[in-house]
Amino acid sequence: MSDAHADVTKHVKAYIAVFTALITLTVVTVLASRLTVAPSVHVAIALAIAGFKASLVAMIFMHLKWERQAISGLC
Amino acid sequence: MSGDHHHEPSFIRKYVFSVDHKVIGIQYGVTALCFLFLGFCLIMMMRWQLAYPGETMPIIGNLFGEAAMPGGVMLPEFYNSLGAMHGTIMIFLGVVPLLVGAFGNYVMPLQIGAPDMAFPKLNMLSYWSYFLGGVVMLASFFVPGGAANSGWTSYPPLSDIATTGQTWWLFGMVCLITSSLLGSVNFIVTIVQLRVEGLTMFRLPFFVWAQLITSFLLLLAFPPLEAAGVLQLMDRLAGTSFFLPEGLVVSGVVQTQISGGGSPILWQHLFWFLAHPEVYVLILPAMGMVAEIISINTRKPLWGYRAMIYSTIFLGFMSFIVWAHHMFMTGMGTKISAFFATTTMIISIPSVVILTAMVISLYQGAIRFTVPMLFALAFLPMFAIGGLTGLPLGLPASDIHLHDTYYVIGHFHYVVAPGTIFAIFAGIYHWFPKITGRTLNKTLGYIHFAFSFIFINIIFMPMFWQGMAGVSRRLYDQTVYAHGDAVQSLTVISSWGAWMLGLAQIPFIINFFISIKAGKKVSDNPWEATTLEWSAPSPPPHGNFATVPVVYRGPYEYSVPGASSDYIPQHITTEA
């Protein structure tokens, strides 16, 4: 991970983008629960959105995206 | 590098709350050996009740108070408490801390050339959490109603309506699980990150590989039991009914305060999801130690080192999808039992591969019958019996008759008693010179081995016949049943075997304590082994190695053709 100041600020933009994405997705999940649809579909939608949000948090916030080397080193 | 003591740590800091992996290893070792012996004493008392039901126990009969053994006769609830605590103490307080806490903590950093574990304070925290768990388990004997008495598996609803000892058991388990969890994080980071230069993953001694896979098992398998423990604590304390179905009537009293909706099978799934990887945690480090000792004492590289490593990794994965072969009898359909029977058959193959590899390592070797080697050699046939008797239990059809009988007890005790505990003895005799600089007495060692080997077979071999006859396990008095009464003579033989095994440990205990001070002084490498821990002085100082070693070759370079001596240690630069 390069530590130059410029690079870190690039991260900040990513964080703000993820933040807004998470907010909108939460609203979407709540709206999705309003739809009158078969319960199994409800579950599928809710989990898909939650899964996507989780991957966003993991990739960006937890820096998995920038640790290509770690992942290749271990597995 | 090793001498940067900026302050001399006080006695407490150095020995009690130490962060040195060697001191913590010894703390784990001594505590776990005491618990092992205590667990063994519990079973020696139970064997009296099994062999001579209802008769007053001689000598120590009336030491246990009127609530447990009025007039020296053991009550069934005390018998059940002893049974449950025997299982818990032997596994969670004795063998796992010995294999992972003591041997892993002491030997593994030395074998990878690291100065200490990656997180020393975390290492200390995990010992003291284990110690707290042990104290809570011991204290639960004195709680009104006695210790937990619904088996070491503590199946609800029996454990949900049990006496307060069960709550202490659950809290003790949460402490022990936290200790193993923290320990496993420490081990994995140390093995992966702190290997010295030149020590690639496939130059690691097999013992270190076994510890790595065991740590992954501990890391990923223990949390579900912690979750199950939390759920059962909620059941017992907050009145929830995770494991209690609707409409329970306990001795005539309709349980209206239970909301129902839970199911006892939920606990069994969560428990066995841990307990099967747990039994592999019990056996893998033992296999690691036996492999080390065999290769050193046959002066020959381990046959199929890579095959053994791939089998261990495969064993690690498979152990997570095998758990329900403990639950064939809970009303399972053919689909689920077919899946788990198949995975059980598949998982028996890597164990056979590892065992065969170790036996073939003897071929064309120059076998030295030292005391650790005798224990390691005895491990092989005994583990074979343990493994083979797993087959009838793995197939659902034959499991119908054999489930929950003494056959099961014979099966897993053959794997654990002459298997893991003999490997532990082998490890103690093998690494004692490294820990104290002195060796254990050889003749006392031979006596200890010979008698232990004989009596351990006398205890557990008859159990297969009892199991076939249909004698159920955890029976306070087997003579109540006709099929139990017919084989009561076998129970008497087993009981005498157990008491004799108790006597056979005395030479070892004497040998252990005397040799610390009065044992014969030996060099740093008495067994002429190649792995890194023998290059450090014994006992190794605080930073382990005077100069950081560099590794040039694999761990088993014995009898290399054309070399000057019959072993070339890993850290020696290439021969002149």
Binding site: H11, T29, A54, L74 | P115, V185, Q193, F222, E226, G261
Partner: protein, 206 residues
């Protein structure tokens, strides 16, 4: 045994690219995934096992007495706290202690707000209605999962408070070591937020 003696405590390992702390926290999060995984599978086991009708049927919608508004609010709070946590790490990376510490305090305050909402509005509200974990299996699993999650959040707050207060001493000794530790705390924090992201729809919406 001071830090520099153990290799790769601060500098990342050449092969794995991780320093010890980060590797350790990721392993710890793996075990936490198994812990919450076990609780989620318990939830699924109980929900599938629940009969359609009768006293132990699975409550949905109004019968759960769970207001999705409070749940939604808590989700937003946690997402915000995740962002402030990562911004704190960014500030420490850019060497200004004051701003970084301010973000840490923001994270701690948001976390305490989350716990306060959960305890004050959700738990007390249920206790007043006479709903306890023992009322039904749904409330049992609800209280257990959200309770354990709240305990994890409180644990996180304690660690963050340590790094705001006494932990900051390390900043002056070894700046990078302190930032790494903040990053590990951040990883743990994002994981806790991640668990809530799954908890919220399952308990509140479905």
């Amino acid at each position: 045994m001071s830090a520099e003696v153990l290799p790769y405590t601060v500098k990342p390992h050449p092969v794995t690219g991780l320093y010890n702390g980060k590797f350790g926290i990721w392993l710890f999060l793996a075990s936490e995934v198994m812990l919450f995984g076990a609780l989620f599978s318990t939830y699924i086991f109980l929900r599938i096992g629940a009969p359609e009708t009768g006293p132990t049927a699975w409550p949905t919608g109004e019968q759960t007495h769970l207001s999705w508004k409070l749940g939604g609010l808590n989700t937003l709070i946690l997402i915000l706290s995740s962002v402030t946590m990562v911004m704190a790490w960014v500030q420490f990376k850019m060497d200004n202690l004051a701003k970084g510490r301010m973000y840490l305090i923001a994270t701690a305050v948001l976390a305490i707000a989350f716990v306060a909402i959960k305890l004050k509005f959700e738990y007390m509200h249920k206790f007043h209605l006479g709903i306890k974990p023992s009322t039904s299996v749904f409330f049992a699993i609800y209280f257990t999962m959200t309770g354990l999650h709240a305990l994890h959040i409180i644990g996180g707050v304690v660690v963050i408070a340590y790094f705001i207060g006494p932990g900051a001493k390390l900043w002056h000794e070894n700046r990078e070591y302190y930032t790494n530790r903040i990053e590990c705390t951040g990883l743990y924090w994002h994981f806790v937020d991640l668990v809530w992201i799954f908890l919220f729809p399952i308990l509140y919406l479905l």
